[in-house]
């Protein structure tokens, strides 16, 4: 298989890339690592006139932890998986990265590319929703920040405009002890998730001050399980409270039956993973010395 013909540019700066995007608009497609776009090009689901390869742009890669957290959009999955700066409150990042595709794809694919691809089976979308991350995007007009919960619109559809490029992901400092977990069920390495669940909690004493829950592969986009989050906020996370949140999260899932399982099965995996993820995340938050 090979893609339909396209023009290719590899701009030397973000400004040059944004200029090309402004000029070519919808007929151009931005490529970072290419691990989502190239398969689409090969299958000819995507036939852009121009591919703008931002993969080697300087300054858009790396993890900065300074109370809050900043991750450059071109940071590869493998760099997140192995980052020494992403323990403690941010354990969910290496834990989720470890489950993405396979080790070879993780050597090339980027967090920003994956988020902008907005596959409902994508892992980072759920992590962004659970962490209530801010997505920083640039256009020739300037910078704007899109909250993760406003970003994902539907399958492969986001609120990113055609002249914008995602440059970094920002997550605010956790105010209290925080912990997270990512649980994923897949038939084999590299398969799309059957179900995955991202959970992030913050503790204030014995009570949950904030809970974030993102669901992967159980709807037309990554789903933020808002009712489940509310059921945890301000409460002591007893087994009964956790079970109720898990039930609410399963209710927010809208899976379709496919070769990976029935809708009922997938909803129940959501329930189990929310329960399991909350217990892991709470244990990690209790250990944290933030």
């Amino acid at each position: 298989m090979f893609p339909a013909a396209f023009d290719y540019r590899s701009p030397a700066s973000l400004e040059e890339a944004l200029g090309l995007l402004t000029e070519h608009g919808d007929s151009a497609k931005v490529m970072a690592g290419g691990q989502s776009l190239i398969p689409l090009l090969k299958l000819r689901f995507a036939q852009p006139g121009l591919v703008i390869d931002i993969g080697r742009l300087p300054g858009l890669s790396g993890v900065t932890r300074n109370g809050s957290l900043t991750i450059g959009a071109l940071t590869r999955h493998v760099d997140i998986e192995r980052s020494k700066d992403l323990g403690g409150a941010w354990t969910i990042f290496p834990e989720a990265a470890h489950w993405i595709a396979d080790p070879l794809v993780r050597n090339q694919g980027t967090i920003g590319g994956s988020i902008c691809h907005a596959d409902p089976a994508g892992d980072w979308g759920s992590v962004m929703l659970a962490l209530e991350a801010d997505l920083v995007v640039r256009s020739a007009q300037g910078e704007r920040v899109i909250h993760a919960s406003d970003f994902f619109q539907g399958p492969f559809t986001t609120t990113l405009r055609s002249d914008e490029i995602l440059t970094e992901i920002r997550v605010g400092a956790p105010s209290k002890r925080a912990g997270g977990a990512y649980n994923k069920l897949e038939r084999k390495v590299g398969d799309f998730a059957t179900v995955a669940v991202a959970v992030q909690v913050e503790l204030d004493g014995d009570k949950v001050s904030r809970a974030g829950i993102g669901l992967t592969s159980v709807g037309s986009k990554n789903i933020k399980a808002v009712a489940a989050e509310k059921a945890l906020a301000g409460r002591e996370p007893t087994d009964a409270v956790i079970a109720e949140a898990a039930r609410l999260a399963a209710g927010a899932a809208e899976p379709k039956a496919d070769v990976r399982g029935s809708a009922e099965f997938k909803k129940d995996v959501v329930r189990v993973f929310v329960q399991r993820g909350l217990k892991t995340a709470l244990a990690r938050a209790r250990e944290a010395r933030a």
């Binding site: 290719y8 590899s10 493998v78 396979d102 794809v105």
Partner: protein, 170 residues
């Protein structure tokens, strides 16, 4: 458009359409056919090459994307008639049956041992998890990588002991 890269230590270039995949550039333009096309859908790892020392799937890279970078293919493993430790390991432990996945497996093993000279069995299995062996010969592939790890450790402990076996040297 013009593309230039370093393949197995040799500067190579071509004038190609941007849509040419790296695996096709290697096989068709450079006639280096050790890099295989298996699934052609980023699943199997038969097309694995090392990009600046790290394994990637060359069916899911454009040749123009690796402009100016270092590529290693299976053809770059042996030094003349001397097999690399990984190749010697696959030879000694019968790490291949049909051989189709072998270039990818050996390159993943090579990169793993560079990063982690003494991997556990689980670490080896995780490292090769993006590479599929249709003969299901995983047991011997793992043993082959373990063999290479031991050979590398011994070579470092007693320099200048040879790291690999000579081709055909039984």
């Amino acid at each position: 458009m013009k593309v230039a890269m370093n393949v197995n230590g040799v500067a190579r270039s071509g004038d190609i359409e941007p849509r040419v995949l790296l695996v096709d550039f290697l096989r068709t333009n450079l006639r280096q056919t050790g890099t295989h096309v298996g699934c052609d859908t980023t699943s199997c790892g038969a097309c694995t090459v090392l990009l600046d020392g790290e394994p990637v799937k060359s069916c899911t890279l454009l040749a123009v994307q690796v402009q100016g970078r270092d590529i290693m293919t299976v053809e770059g493993l042996a030094q003349g008639a001397t097999l690399s430790p990984i190749q010697a390991g696959f030879h000694e432990e019968h790490g291949l049956q049909c051989g189709f996945c072998t270039p990818g497996m050996m390159l993943v093993g090579t990169a793993l041992l560079e990063r982690n000279p003494d991997p556990s069995e689980e670490e080896i299995r995780w490292a090769i998890s993006g590479n599929i062996c249709r003969c299901t010969g995983y047991m011997n592939i793992v043993k082959s990588i373990q063999h290479a790890a031991r050979a590398r450790a011994e070579a470092q402990a007693t320099p200048p002991a040879h790291a690999g076996a000579a081709v055909g040297g039984e």
